[in-house]
Each structure stands twice: as C-alpha cells, then as structure tokens.
C-alpha cells in the first residue's frame, strides 16, 4: 500500500488499525476452560481406542497361532504311525484326557526331521503370559525316549489355552466319555484324537471373546474298528 492509498483511509478505519486492545483475562480464561474440556474428552477417546487396538491385536495373534498350531498337529497326526504317551511306547487310554502325547512320524512324513523316524512330543505348560492359561509346545527328537516339554528347543505354538489343567488331548472311546467332552468314536471308524484348544486372553473364567477351536483328528494310519 503506497503513501497515497494510506492518505485515503477514513478516520474510523485508522482508529481501528491503531487500536491495541486484546482479549480480557476473563475471555481468555473461558476460552482455555472450554479448550481443556474438549481436549480432555478427545484424549480419553484416543486412550481407549489405543487400548482396544492392543487388545484386538493380541486376540488376533492368539487366534492365528491357535489355527496354525492346529494345522501342525493335524499334519503330524494324519501322517503318524503311532500316537502314544510321552514315553513313546505306552498307548493312550480311551476316554482319558492328557496334557502331553508323543507322535511317531515315519521318515517319509513331511514333518519328520531330516527324513528320519521322528518322535514329536506335543505338551502343555503353564503360560508365562497369563497365569491361569496354558501354552502348547512341540519338541521333536529322532531317538527314544523323547525329550520332555521343558527341554530347550521346545517350540511354543499356541498360548492362552483355557482347557482345564491343560489336558488338551483325548482319545474318544466307543462310549461317550466325559473327558473328551462327550465325543464318541463311531463304530467302524479310524481312531480319532479329540484336541481342544480354546483360547482366551483373559483366562478360562472369562466368558467374553473366547475362541473355541476344537476338532477330532483321524489317525489315518490306524485300523478301522
């Protein structure tokens, strides 16, 4: 704006341009209070959203691991020549729930280590992430007796399992056993292994958000009876 333009300004405009009054302290205080209220409510929404995000992520991972672990068990059991107790020789008693089993994998099995007869032990231990939950491990060896669950080299597949006492495996008999949640082996059928891996981040007592993955896996190399 040149000096000529400035000369043309009206008196009122010049007065306003020269005015130096700002906000009063009252106005400022009111504005700050309103801003604080809005920010506080926004922050609480953000905090709860981030909590939800963490929870959803953990739940997603637990369920994903559950499905992956189940796939691995299925591959092991479908190819197994024997499913026994953890010594690798004693057969499972029908209608009894077990915390650990040993799967004998012949050398041609895709899950056998380095094309040798492999003894894979699946077992549960108390979860380190949630005291009331259980975690499922797999440990493999090519010699008998098979290593136990606590051995280093055991791989954790599933966590946050809520099965009572971690007894996730059960061989159903021809009568409905309570240990296998009432699952019964039909006559003229291959032996089935009932595997229950329900997961819940908040422990067995929680009824919300549980994911109950349960299946009966056929021992395909067994005899139909």
């Amino acid at each position: 704006m040149g000096p000529i333009a400035r000369g043309r300004l009206s008196r009122r405009a010049r007065t306003r341009a020269g005015a130096q009054s700002g906000f009063t302290i009252i106005e400022l205080l009111i504005a700050m209070v309103i801003l604080t209220i809005i920010m506080a409510s926004l922050t609480s929404v953000l905090v709860s959203a981030s909590h939800t995000e963490i929870d959803v992520n953990k739940r997603f991972q637990a369920q994903q691991n559950d499905r992956t672990g189940f796939d691995k068990i299925r591959r092991d059991i479908h190819c197994a020549s024997a499913v026994t107790q953890t010594d690798g020789t004693t057969t499972l008693t029908p209608g009894t729930a077990y915390t650990a089993i040993t799967v004998t994998l012949p050398s041609q099995c895709p899950t056998a280590s380095s094309s040798q007869t492999t003894y894979a032990t699946w077992c549960t231990l108390q979860s380190t992430l949630n005291a009331t939950d259980w975690a499922l491990y797999r440990v493999a060896s090519t010699t008998l007796p098979p290593p136990t669950c606590a051995t280093t080299g055991a791989v954790k597949w599933v966590d946050y399992i809520t099965t009572p006492l971690g007894a996730v495996f059960c061989l159903p008999g021809t009568t409905a056993p309570t240990a296998c949640s009432g699952v019964q082996k039909p006559t003229n059928s291959l032996p089935l292994l009932h595997v229950a891996l329900p997961v819940n981040l908040n422990g067995a007592a929680s009824t919300k958000e549980s994911y109950n993955l349960v299946d009966d896996i056929a021992l395909r190399n067994g005899a139909r009876s």
């Binding site: 043309r8 009206s10 019964q184 039909p186 003229n188 059928s189 291959l190 994911y211 896996i217």
Partner: protein, 183 residues
C-alpha cells in the same frame, strides 16, 4: 470519498445467511453419512468372513469323520424320530434326493444325523446339514446300479453349513466315496 473495494470488504459486517448455513450443513451431513455407511459395510463384511471361516472348520470336521469311516458305514440315520427329521430347509437343498438317499446308519452317532446344530469356534451357532446320496460318475442311478457297462455307484457326501435359524448357506463341501478304495 471513494473507498477502494478491498477496504470496503474489511468494513462489511455481514455473515452467512441462514439458507447458506443450512445448505452447508446438509452437504456436510451427506458426506459424513457416506463415511459411516462405508464403516458399517466393512463391519458387516468382517462379521460374514468370521462366520464363513468358522463354518468351514465345522464342515471340514464333519467331512473328516466320513473319511475315517468304513465305506459301508457311510450312511444317514433317518429312523430315530424327531432328532432325525428332515425339515423344509433340508429338503429344499439341491443336494437332497428322496430316492437316492443312503440310509441305515445304526449308531446313535452325531455324524449320521441329517441336521446338527453345533457351536463354532466363534461361539456362534451353526446348522450342519449332511446329505448322502448314491451317485454315478457316468450313467444315471437307478435301483442300486448306474446301468450296464458303467462303473459302480459311489456315495456322494455333501456337507452344507448354514447360519443357525436361516437358510443362508455359508459353506458347501462335497466328496465322493467309493467301495473300490477298500474299507
């Protein structure tokens, strides 16, 4: 005195009219509503995906039971009263055949039931319909045969998983079983 238009605008004290404001609010509302609609359709799609994957697990599990069975034992149980009844939803399915149905499962096993209600991994309730019919790889099935010079009939097992209480099909699985594979 002439005031330049730039300064004149500074001195104006007019705001928006009510009409303008209303139009802006209406446009904004439409925009926000379309965003909300996108969210809710995403939620519906996610829920459906969860149901389908749960239904898939149940169907796999049911089929696995039949794979474990002896060929001669693959049959439906249709003579156990109300538990074995086949309702309108069951018979309306394309896999249903009143004439070629394989029946005679003797055990009271759940696998043999035409319709089972089971709870899936997501704790929702699902309806599992199992159809077992005689089928021919070539020729037409009639009275235990596919016609001369045709292969022997096979058992066709169809597992249909529906959302409990509706007829909406979530998963359909089919497999044939032949006596040639041994028992």
């Amino acid at each position: 005195m002439r005031i330049p238009p730039r300064l004149a605008r500074l001195r104006e004290e007019d705001g928006f009219t009510l009409i303008e404001l209303t139009i802006v609010m209406a446009v904004l509302t439409i925009g926000i509503l379309s965003l909300v609609a996108a969210y809710s359709s995403g939620y519906v799609a996610m829920k459906h995906a969860t149901r389908v994957s749960s239904a898939q697990l149940l169907a796999d599990s049911q089929m696995e039971r039949f794979r474990a069975l002896q060929y001669t034992s693959i049959a439906l149980n249709t003579s156990c009263g109300a538990t074995c009844s086949q309702d309108a939803t069951y018979t309306a399915d394309t896999a249903y055949s009143s004439t070629a149905q394989v029946t005679g499962c003797a055990t009271q096993d759940q696998t043999c039931l035409s319709t089972q209600i089971k709870s899936g991994p997501d704790t929702n309730s699902y309806r599992i319909d199992t159809y077992i019919t005689w089928s021919c790889l070539s020729g037409t099935y009639s009275a235990g045969s596919c016609g001369s010079s045709n292969p022997i009939p096979v058992k066709l097992v169809t597992v249909v998983v529906r959302q409990s209480g509706t007829t909406a099909v979530l998963v359909r699985q089919q497999s044939t079983f032949t006596s040639a594979t041994g028992s």
